[in-house]
Symmetry: C2
């Protein structure tokens, strides 16, 4: 029997398995700064891939990047009441601007600021302040800006990638002349996110609207995508908010319309973050470690030279380098293949396992015998570790792009099946309670039930530690009865435990 690379397995201890996958793939680790992580090179390379692809798509839809200050003056934060209420409990506050000796060999803060600053938990407030200066006329609209930045929310319980005090994200902020146009933007981005997450991260998501209690502080509507992890829990993978005129009124963002009337603009905001990497890990990885979809993998193909005798070394290495060059010239999904040769002088088995645990989609082992046959031993990360495909070198050019496409789509299909197998349609409260009972030993996933959006339902859910994940945009239009309140409704809602 093959030894598992990750201990414990998913079944033995899912949260600990998650930590081990991250640690064995060398993606990130905790830092001495409370709740903040260090993103290590392999983890950051995944983030860079993600950034590159998403950034191009945002630009293709007319968005441009800008950069706004890290710090927000307290007085500015206060201008949208619900917004600040939502973030006040988790703000890092800057109160001093220098350090002086504490007289005991250490240092202490000095130079009290007249007005404290908060490290941005999100940038609606500072961006709104600038928009009120920039926007005067309907000719200035729409404003379609995006920012790649770090943000800070002082979290009490943190977990690498999924919830950290500091995280990296992109935040889009747009302003429009009409409500219709702003709603359209909100939904356009939601769809762009869905295509990106399903197509590139191979993570199936349900897109829908948040219930009132789960809305972004200050938003009129919050739309989201929800993905299912392998423990059945939901992960909110991204959000898109229609902010109405709430921030426009709080920050005096007004324009003269074509009729000469002064009006408030309509704004949106939307973001995805390094949290996506947590979702990626929990969606595809197995008991051997990380599994990366080819479009996101920093190396899609790793070539592993195998030789025992010193006299074979040169021949094997140069064969591998030549092959790498050949493969680099190939295209898949409009990009050159990313091929790495691992030339390090360490044991072959150790090398091989390192790349398995790092999730590289395809491994090519090449030894003296393969060279004699002009062939390689090909291994796929989405198959069993020892499932070997003897492949002629001449075939690789034609077959690798197809293979990457197959792996990419296969991961999506597998995840979609997993979600399907762990979703239920529930007709009444008794079934609902049984499904979410703590002693249920199987995996509890998504429960779809008729429900209304009311505080009463939220009160009911709290002790169960279950939440309404979203009201899916796609509904069959049939009428049913809310399992909590008995009210008639056409909406089915997705309920789950969540990260």
């Amino acid at each position: 029997m093959q030894k598992s690379a990750i201990s414990p397995t998913r079944q033995e201890n899912y949260p600990e398995w998650y930590q081990q996958v991250i640690s064995e793939a060398d993606l990130a680790e905790v830092s001495p700064v409370r709740g903040c992580m260090v993103i290590k090179p392999w983890g950051y390379a995944i983030w860079e891939r993600l950034q590159k692809i998403l950034d191009a798509r945002l630009k293709d839809t007319g968005h441009v990047n800008a950069y706004f200050p890290l710090l927000i003056p307290l007085s500015q934060l206060e201008r949208e009441a619900k917004h600040i209420e939502g973030f006040a409990k988790e703000c890092a506050v800057v109160t001093h601007h220098r350090l002086i000796s504490d007289g005991e060999g250490g240092l202490k803060p000095d130079g009290t600021l007249e007005e404290p600053y908060v490290i941005r938990p999100t940038s609606e407030t500072i961006i709104g302040t600038m928009y009120s200066k920039w926007i005067q006329s309907y000719r200035d609209l729409p404003v379609l800006l995006n920012q790649w930045a770090n943000v800070m929310r002082w979290e009490m319980r943190t977990r690498l990638f999924l919830r950290t005090s500091e995280f990296l994200w992109q935040e889009g902020h747009t302003a429009h002349a009409t409500a219709e146009e702003a709603v359209e933007e909100t939904l356009k981005i939601l769809e762009l996110y869905r295509c990106f997450v399903e197509g590139v991260l191979a993570m199936p998501v349900i897109v829908g609207e948040k219930t009132e209690g789960e809305r972004f502080p200050g938003a009129v509507n919050t739309y989201c995508m929800e993905a299912m992890m392998q423990d059945g829990k939901a992960l909110q993978a991204g959000t898109s908010h229609f902010l109405g005129q709430n921030f426009a009124k709080g920050y005096d963002i007004q324009f003269t319309d074509q009729q000469g009337q002064i009006q408030h603009v309509w704004t949106t905001s939307w973001g995805v973050s390094t949290r996506l990497i947590g979702g990626l890990i929990m969606t595809h990885s197995d008991d051997n470690g990380l599994v990366l979809p080819p479009q996101l993998a920093p190396h899609q193909i790793v070539i592993l030279p195998i030789y025992k005798k010193e006299e074979d070394k040169h021949r094997v290495l140069s064969f591998c380098k030549d092959l790498q060059e050949k493969l680099h010239a190939l295209n898949w999904r409009d990009e050159r293949l990313r091929v790495h040769v691992d030339m390090r002088d360490i044991a072959g088995g150790e090398k091989n396992w390192q790349w398995i645990k790092k999730g590289v989609p395809v491994r090519l082992e090449i030894g003296p015998r393969d060279i004699a046959d002009n062939a390689v031993s090909l291994y796929r990360r989405d198959q069993a570790v020892k499932e070997r495909h003897n492949t002629a070198v001449a075939e690789l050019s034609l077959m690798l792009p197809t293979l990457l496409e197959e792996i990419q789509c296969g991961l999506f299909t597998r995840a979609e099946k997993y979600r399907h197998d762990h979703s239920v349609h529930i007709q009444n409260l008794k079934e609902f309670n049984a499904y979410f009972e703590e002693k249920n030993e199987g995996i509890t996933g998504f429960a779809h039930c008729y429900a209304v959006d009311s505080p009463e339902v939220e009160q009911y859910l709290k002790p169960l530690k279950v939440s309404a994940r979203c009201i899916p945009l796609e509904q069959d239009g049939k009428e049913g009865v809310c399992i909590f309140t008995g009210t008639k409704t056409r909406n089915k809602v997705v309920f789950a435990r969540a990260y």
Copy 2:
């Protein structure tokens, strides 16, 4: 006479001209956050170009990206004495982790942190702490990491791009087994920076070593590149530091060498920042606004459709779109040409001036008559605004890449000549004093003189507001006499006023 687009001109008021160039090109503006700027889309697009090219070069030389926390615990900062001494006066300090009501409708900081945090002014300390965990053996070396991040230094006098409290940069941090290897890395990066800044930004620089008083806090040697602005002042455009074992000792970064001995590693750090954009502006721009080197320009070519009659509109626009597509397929310096068509329905003159002020290298005006002739009116940003080149469309494919190369190199040559014309070789103190006299009405540039690196010289320079910019790496090897102390030396030093 052509009206100048920027008022005042460089000669009338250089600092105010600089602000106006930024404002008219819509690059950035001040924010309500003390000393922090907002980088607007055109400015940020330039930064993205710069990032993309430099990042690729750093990766080509074996460096990988990672991300470390924004906040640094006070106790960690204290472990390298000279380092903290250098930064203590300008640190933003986080002391609280939430906000509560102040009872008067406002908010106040609450939740005092046990240990305050500082927003990173640079990351040697937090990265050193991680390196001490990661590095155990000579097999773990070298570590070649880079980080793209925001940093914060509480500056009292700020100026857009050149000196802001928050700025964006890349900071490289490497660890090596030997001093030789670390010095080699320090100089390799200095050379990489020089090639990048001279080749891409078209900014000539003098590379050299900083004198002791100008060294990075905690470094053994600081190397830098110094550029000359059009007012003759020097701008430090980037630095590369050999840190010796100072940080390795402060942060316990040790490894077991091949002989089994435990040793401290040798580290380096190096960075360039958004300050480069300030340097770029001050090097090339003229009294009509920004001038961008083609390799850095977000649009290299802007097509301006010209029509007066509504019936011409469709024909002109579709001709322009077709031409854009044709030009997009062209390559220059291994990248596709970046061509924009300005379809906006505003007056032609206004449009034209906007792109002049934004520094676009080439403008193509196309009207009904041009279409009839199958020609365009080509204007170069490095020539007079009205200098028109009637060019056949058929010629464009062959001539545009050559033209961009000519503009790119021409900007460099012009800047180099400017520097040459404003540099002097000075033999004695009397000449030196006369050169740097306040009442000198010409442009005071770089003074090259024999000098030693001593506190005595620095004391002498202070009241003149002049500093030793660097000891150039390139020296003719002849011996001379320090103009300040009379000591014999083989080093000429560059002196200037500086930003």
